[in-house]
Amino acid sequence: MQTGLNALFAAAYLSLVAVGLVLIFGVMGVINFAHGELFMLGAYVVVALYTNLQMPFVLVVAIGLIFVGLVGILMEFTMFHPLRDNPLGGLVASIGFLMVIQASITIGFGVRMEHVPPVTQDVIILSEKVRLPVQRLFVILSAFVCLTALWLFLKKTKFGWALRASAQDPEAAMLQGISTRTVSIIAMFIGAALAGVAGSVTAPVISVSPVIGHSVIVSAFIVIIVGGIGSLEGAVLASVTYAFIHTVITTFIDGVIADIVGLSLMLLVLIIKPTGMFGTQDRV
């Protein structure tokens, strides 16, 4: 039960990262290698504004969301748009960007682990053995709120439909009057902002350092490959489901085993069904 709660917590922020990654990949066809660094940036927004400047935590999380979202738009303008006909080029550029962010953060904050003081020490005692720190509950709730909001956006709003349509058939979407550029910018903002929120809300619970992006990105990659890229909503569901399974294995058995299981699943999926376990359709 306690481990289940821990798994839920880890799945919460991992799925935020993975869903953002999958959204960007689905709409723009580029793999954003710097996505883990967007998570890291979100955490450093907390270090800078909450730890150092002592601004209210919730406000800082909101700033983390918007700031990292804007970094996403910056990436679209400087890399993914100029390289739009060259997905491999976009990937390589994002690796360069990853290094730039890491270096800048290292220069600004040093390589030391930053300890972010917890916002609250409160613990909800569910039973004698099961305790849920409020700080972790906050991560779970944030993920729930963000993912629900994303779901409603994709299902109920005009621009959500535009994103889904573009992910399924960019050219057919253009023929409906949808601007692929606008859609790309929206996808980059949302995708990056989700990673930023994840980094911000988890910062007080983890040790923040310039390299924390790596640990989440590997899991996130497994999540999206296994989850597949059929439809955006399918990918969102798959990411959340798999993130949960992955963290359950990690917490109940072992992280290495979870990665092995994930990678084997990934291989299996790539061999049997290259569009992903839940994927339904080949990209045109």
């Binding site: 057919a172 023929l175 409906q176 009057g177 949808i178 339904t280």
Partner: protein, 235 residues
């Protein structure tokens, strides 16, 4: 003249696929382009929609030059394109597909009315409105693609091989649909390999070979033309 193409040249890399195409489409007419595989029919439609860039030449719609506008602007001017192979959004529902066609429209109540009209015209789509589009049959998908284009309330419809891969009964239904669209005053530029169907529907026709117009004229005349009979009507 509603649509006017002048001396279009389009190439993919070093290969010229359209060589000096000029065409005119009058308001409220059906004009057809027939031709063999690879003649450049789709490319012609795609250059009108802004999906491919011209090397030279010009396209005017409603008196305005449109060949340097992005695809979404061209849609907003009143040109809708039913692409080759239907290209519906497979993982969106039938209704979502249709509403996506109205993406640029602001007149919400009119959109609702339009949707009703389309459901009346295609009752099958109403029955399947909350099913994913990929579950539809080929003919139903074609109707969905047409309905989606109509949801933009276009002045002009570009249709790329709407009869492709469909059973004769369904082709007949598509024919009726096109007739009805014409009766509603929408101008149509129809690309077809099914020359019989196209020449029966159209007022005027162009024959495309290797990126060039080799023949043009009123559709009945072309229908009786020996050359056309031999090459495209299989008579």
């Amino acid at each position: 003249m509603l649509l006017e193409l002048k001396d279009l040249i389009v190439s993919y890399g070093p290969v010229q696929v359209l060589r000096n195409i000029s065409m005119q489409v009058r308001k409220a007419q059906v004009v057809t382009i027939i031709g063999a595989n690879g003649a450049g029919k789709s490319t012609t439609l795609r250059s009108i929609s802004g999906l491919v860039n011209l090397k030279s030449g010009s396209i005017h719609f409603d008196g305005q030059r449109i060949n340097d506008l992005p695809a979404n602007k061209i849609v907003s001017m009143g040109i809708s394109h039913v692409p080759e192979g239907r290209r519906i959004f497979p993982d969106m529902t039938v209704e979502e597909n249709l509403r996506t066609g109205a993406f640029l429209r602001k007149d919400k109540t009119e959109v609702e009315k339009n949707l009703k009209d389309i459901f009346n015209q295609f009752p099958i789509l109403r029955n399947r409105r909350s099913k994913n589009a990929k579950t539809l049959s080929g003919g139903e998908q074609q109707m969905l693609a047409i309905g989606r284009a109509l949801m933009a309330k276009p002045k002009m419809l570009l249709m790329d091989e709407p009869s492709m891969g469909l059973a004769p009964v369904i082709v007949d239904e598509i024919r009726k649909i096109i007739e009805q669209i014409r009766e509603n005053g929408v101008t149509i530029l129809l690309v077809e390999q099914n020359a019989e169907l196209a020449l029966n529907l159209a007022n005027y026709a162009y024959v495309l070979e290797n990126g060039q117009i080799v023949l043009e004229g009123p559709a009945e005349e072309l229908h009786d033309n020996e050359q056309v009979k031999a090459a495209y009507l299989g008579i």
